[in-house]
Symmetry: D2
Subunit: 353 residues, 4 copies
């Protein structure tokens, strides 16, 4: 099922070229008054058409709340928000029904759903479907902020170029969300270079939740790693998720990787944070930190090898249309959204006791 | 919740020193006749006490099916299997209630559950709780085998030493599950060396599902990556999961990372498998491949820094008892179990249509 | 949660006066081509404004599928259908925020959700929200028809006047869905009489599923009675549900109530059907039969006793607006919808094996 | 699935003659110290072998907590309790595999699960499986008591003989749980009379929750009626559930059935309670009241008509073994258990906000 079923439940719906996309969500608190300006600013961070580094399509991405909102507050009934699909050029996608794009869901979706699948614009596999995720995530971010919990993130790497410095505060106000603007400039140059070569780049996003309280999560399937990963892998193009030192921890010794406890005033902290703020699946009060690997945009303008499903023969494909040479900058708020949902969900559970 | 709720549902229960551990599962097919010998062999692969590289505790790990099995076949009713806890030395753990072990759940579980938490042997956070996971997973492996689908895996890396060669067939019959026995010898030496230094090692496990059919999974939260990751992160000590090229894909260009389609007879295949057999969250018929990062065993015999929760002061801790210097070899079948559950679950869903 | 979470999952959303009402559903089969004319006819049976016996409000109740439908077929992605709210007179409901209507959710919803609750038109407690239920249910009815399974129903009783004859075939084509039109005339007269006295009537709806296959459902919480009842009680105004002889069975002896088995050709049937086609929670192949008690419409034009929540004093209330003097005729398709969902859901599960 | 999946989740497991029966539950609060004496007393009310009116089988029904309990308190990890099956006479049931008992699940379970079904003692359809339900329910009853909420019930009717007087306080201490002992004597006489005629009786149980707070539940599928009914119909032999006036409400006029609000001190109450304490699916603070119809025990000693599934011919059956001539008295605590789970579940949800 395409639904998230925790204490919060939601289903993202819509295809790239259906009348609308949106989300139906339950479990957000009655009486909560979302800051719609703030939500718009958050949504704008993933919207296309902003600069040279992303696709030139224009999408308002303006959610209309058709249910569950009254006089600016959540009523307690299921919330449904929709975004109309307007700027769609359906003709671009007709060929792809028989010539699946490498790296895309065309072949697998046709295998799974058969002819009925709506492949226009990639159907429900379009990155556009992260907009509804950002609606729920944006609301959860605001709910977390009210508890003093911020979710921050940055581009940690693009095309092998690493950001520099530590992620200590939000990069949300930046045009290009990195800590080191100088490193950011090099990343931008790399993106433009790949674009000019009709190619694309991937990267890594780092996300941190500095103020998360200790005691969220639980053992095994209740653990925060799995709960967050389930949502983060829900974002198209994510191919890896690691917490704290992650894969690097696999190369450490126990004596290096273990984070020693120590007192900081009357608070228990750890000297290092290799565990990414999670021990035994439960937050330990240190910043929760994870990284997500984003693959390079599969839509590239170069000719690629593929097959013709109507003839069963090998063929070539040139993808037309406007595509992001690097999806990483626009994926940053999506990662924050996914993290915010998982953490707010765990916080809700905590209160239940 | 500590339950998995897909088409198959199960809850792992028990603590390290409770009367028993076990699992209650629903959704496995009525009439299925498990090969109990095969299940025992599978369970034995994660059991402790087998060799120098793992703990010397002896645990029979013999599941007793107290419900849902009749004359050797599943009845269709919920299945419950239990493993009695026998070889427990509760006195070893008394000190840890006030001096949490670095890298362990002691501090976070006490924060979450309070004094009521059963910390003996790590409670429900013990690696021992992967035994019930292996019961369900072992049954799913057999069910997949009947459909011609094998789940294979290997130690890809321990302490920075990489296995060599490709993972093409099962390593389950090997004492040390690697492709290159020579690399395996070097890993074993590294483990013994770390052990002699009162330290521990982590590593990486690679898992592949060569015969998985195309068409399992779906978009976003229905994607196979998230469904597998949710289960794999349920295994204690896993801190990272990546599919196909994973984090390495983040450093590739689209033209490198995209797997070109081509015909192989009348079958659509891809020339490379950077996507790990999953496109748009749906299997493409190529081997499903993922890797899991396992942190080094946190229980090491060296003195470590921790805090005394009763006094609020910094202190030192020496962990006593028998512990694995490297949990990676015993984690291999657990990873297979987690993968098997996710894939059989998706296969069940497929049939529903 | 306001969601149904079986093999099919759906969430009904919207309030009586929100921009729209609708439903988001998952688990209906990709490739299914709904007969939209048929769905409209089904929806029309619960729509208001049809005759003297129901409210004179006009609502098109025309669902727009904004997601999950492509070229007339279900794509396999989540389905969302919305119905715009147009003919709303919000001013009618302002007083009710402080003077809760007897028999309505005004008082309880304000207690549960506080000031944020959207009470206009009864909010999410309005009978209008059964329209989205009828969208999902109407699709399930069509899916069942394709398997040769019909869901039929009738008004069994209104205001103490019983229908006559047995429910053997559909009454859907009738203006007033009873078996005996003569009994129906007496019911209509009773409704008009109650209406003229500024009062309302309740009744009982009988629903049968003649072609349901044996073997759907399971023990205890998997039983068809509970699965159907959960959905039927989701329809506002339902206060009782009984299967087969139901409450009458409680007064029989075992020798009377037990349905003897016998062969009919090579098929096992029962001589009577006191169990309503369900034994041990599983269908036995005889018609599945249940009855639902519908309370009289709480909105009556008479002056009633209530309280003023702003002053904490007893007061009087006269409800204005247009209301059904008897909701039973319009509830008939809703009951069919609920039954169809539960049965199609169980059928889907069956296929999964 | 045979699981309940609310804020509390549990799965009842076991068959009548499997090694054990039991329950795995999640979501009960860490730190809760159950009164085991109290639980035993509660369990004893449904245990067989107590008097002339029930079966003479002896079952200790002593739950052993093998997980989730430490030093008398819930640890926060999943709770599993098992009851060993000891007094079983498997030979009694061999014939029933080919001659299904009228009124039992034999035929339907064989249809659903095939030959693999464990029919000994009725398998998972045995009334014995209500014991694990009473473990969870008994714990929820204690948790509710701590919030000042009692769940009380009585036999309202057996064999057409009605109890007299109102259900105002618990009948749990009585040997025969009725308000009027005189009416109870007549019921007992009717049971013995039916028994002497090799027959059985059914009845109706009334359950009330006087101290339930206003504001639990929600619209449509979130409504308390459906949430309670789902659990109550999970008890074998329940064939009808009605809330408040229930089916009688269907014969009232709105002016009769509506419960007028009025102030009682500073509390909003209703003059009557035809709605059974639930309006719009949400508790209104008046006693929550419902009734469940229990069919007569299908196992009667008389010869009955059935079929021989091996030959496809009509045949006769005489059921041997010890059976309750009337299950109603033993079902009373099961009804309380089901109600307690639903209400505690809703209360937990309430706290979450």
């Amino acid at each position: 099922m395409s639904s998230y079923c925790g204490n919060i439940k939601f289903t993202v719906f819509g295809q790239s070229h259906s009348p609308a996309i949106g989300v139906t969500a339950e479990g957000l608190p009655a009486g909560f008054e979302p800051d719609m300006e703030e939500l718009s600013r958050f949504m704008a961070r993933r919207a296309p058409g902003q600069n040279l580094y992303s696709t030139q399509r224009r999408e308002a991405d303006k959610p209309e709340f058709i249910s569950g909102l009254f006089e600016g507050r959540l009523t307690g009934a299921p919330l449904t928000a929709v975004i109309a699909n307007t700027d769609t050029r359906s003709k671009d996608y007709s060929e792809l029904r028989i010539k699946p794009r490498p790296g895309h869901a065309d072949f697998t979706a046709l295998t799974r759903f058969g002819d009925a699948w709506d492949n226009r614009g990639g159907g429900e596999f379009s990155g556009r479907l992260t907009a509804p995720l950002c609606i729920v995530g944006g609301l959860c971010l605001q709910l977390l902020e009210r508890e003093g919990i911020s979710v921050i993130s940055r581009i940690a790497e693009i095309g092998g170029i690493c950001d520099e410095g530590e992620l200590l505060c939000s990069t949300a106000d930046k045009d290009f969300p990195v800590v080191s603007d100088e490193a950011g400039e090099r990343m931008k140059a790399a993106i433009l270079s790949a674009k000019s070569e009709l190619d694309s780049l991937g990267g890594i996003i780092e996300c941190a939740v500095p103020g998360v309280p200790a005691g969220l999560g639980g053992a095994m399937l209740d653990g925060m790693e799995g709960r967050i990963a389930q949502l983060v892998f829900g974002i198209p193009a994510v191919k890896g998720v690691e917490f704290g030192a992650g894969f690097a921890a696999a190369r450490m010794r126990g004596s290096e990787n273990n984070d020693p406890f120590r007192m900081e005033g009357d608070r228990v902290v750890t000297a290092t944070n290799n565990c990414g703020g999670i021990l035994g699946g439960i937050t330990n009060g240190m910043p929760l930190v994870f990284r997500a690997a984003i693959k390079p945009t599969p839509s590239i303008a170069r000719e690629q090898d593929t097959v013709d499903l109507s003839t069963g023969e090998n063929t070539k494909l040139v993808i037309r249309g406007r595509h992001d040479p690097c999806i990483v900058p626009r994926a940053v708020p999506c990662i924050e959204a996914a993290a915010a949902i998982a953490i707010y969900d765990a916080l809700t559970e905590e209160k239940k006791k």
